[in-house]
């Protein structure tokens, strides 16, 4: 079979290209909302953990956070996805995409938390002291002085975490979500040709990752330039 014929069969015939475009849409939706959940969750956990490390307050919340980090980082994301879908939401009617958003969000939160905690702890202790010496309380010092500086240093790492997540959502097919990877796989099962659809899927991921990495690089350069002002 010639290249063009194979191309026609895999993508044009029966509008099979729509498996890829629809799948891409699903992948992007899951990634976007999972990143949002991950960031919020990660920030909360990071603030709790660094507050405990710096002031020895919030012991109980810190213990809960540590448990969360250990469990999430110590188990495969596919297993977490399966447990959340087949165990936790077993008897709840809920959209699969929403389950995936929750699962990947909770997973990403653990990695975001460690990145942000690193950023917070990297801010010089003198900054905290300066804020407190002026009479600001811990929360005000954190919000106005520590977090803005921490955020700036970890922004590139957070953006990279989002890129990683984009690729990790490719296991969403395990709970029968028609994401990009699953879309390619469906085409393969219909046409019995693996090369075209799977390479196409890989190229789409690659293109998105390259574009996003470019944006991260731009962002990084922008941030270091601001340092020199």
């Amino acid at each position: 079979m010639s290249f063009t014929e194979s191309f026609r069969q895999n993508f044009i015939e029966d509008d099979r290209w729509q498996y890829l475009t629809e799948g891409l849409k699903t992948t992007l939706v899951i990634t976007f909302f999972a990143v949002l959940i991950g960031m919020v969750l990660g920030f909360i956990v990071a603030v709790i953990r660094s507050t405990y490390l710096r002031t020895k307050k919030l012991l109980i919340p810190d213990l809960i956070c540590r448990l969360y980090l250990t469990v999430i980082r110590g188990t495969p994301v596919v297993v977490q996805l399966l447990i959340i879908y087949f165990v936790i939401f077993a008897s709840v009617p809920i959209s699969k995409t929403l389950v995936a958003v929750i699962a990947f969000g909770i997973n990403s939160g653990a990695y975001v938390a460690e990145i942000v905690r690193g950023g917070i702890m990297a801010v010089d202790i003198g900054q905290l002291e300066a804020g407190r010496s002026l009479g600001l309380n811990y929360r005000q010092t954190m919000v106005s002085i520590i977090l803005p500086q921490a955020l700036k240093t970890v922004l590139p790492a957070l953006a990279n975490e989002a890129i990683v997540l984009l690729k990790e959502t490719s296991v969403a097919g395990y709970i029968a979500i028609a994401d990009l990877t699953k879309g390619g796989d469906i085409i393969r099962s219909q046409t019995f040709s693996a090369f075209m659809p799977l390479i196409a899927v890989a190229l789409i991921y690659l293109t998105m990752v390259i574009i996003l990495s470019r944006l991260v690089n731009l962002l990084e350069r922008r941030l270091t330039r601001n340092d020199k002002r």
């Binding site: 003198g126 300066a130 002026l134 009479g135 600001l136 803005p148 500086q149």
Partner: protein
Amino acid sequence: MISVKDLKKEFHGTPVLRGITEHIEKGEKVVIIGPSGSGKSTFLRCLNLMERPTSGEIWFDGQELTKLRDRDINHVRQRMGMVFQHFNLFPHLTIRKNITLAPVKLRLMSQEEADKKAEELLRRVGLPDKAEDYPASLSGGQKQRIAIARALAMNPEVILFDEPTSALDPEMVGEVLALMKQLADDGMTMVVVTHEMGFAREVASRILFMADGVVMEQNTPDKFFTQPESQRLKDFLSKVL
């Protein structure tokens, strides 16, 4: 104004302050000198509870600080400025924001009032055209003058200086000491940990010599340098003068 009774501080079982009893009057300029490791910075940092004393009492304006709740400690800190060895300016904020952040966040002033105050303070510390610059563009001496302006923005009743010139290049020490002298002349109550003997002699109303976690000796500047009593102080002065 500040009374300290039998103040002790240990770090992980190692005693750093071994019982200090001291009284600082309003308007006094107390300079603390002593060898490194003598506990002078720790003593200063206990006064606004940057360090929690292990035991002892700290009285400020009729309140015993070690018994206060966190919220009340924040109120006390608003009235006690602090200037650090490494300036600790906020690098992500302009100089104007560095100065106005605390009074505005604490609702003591509106942003407009604080901006006006910042302008006035910047003139006072001799850096009126730096308001919109970032700390990274300033020299060490300029940074420390801004840090003093930032402390002054809270209208403190006393300012604690923790080795304010120790991190500066030699040619910048003078400008910071000159500003501190000007503050002293304006009647500010000051507690200064420093190695600048010239400043101590010229500005201090009283000099404390700390060694091994206690105030070993104290005197007025003229007698402190000319008639030291303890052997420790004689040795120390012979090394630094």
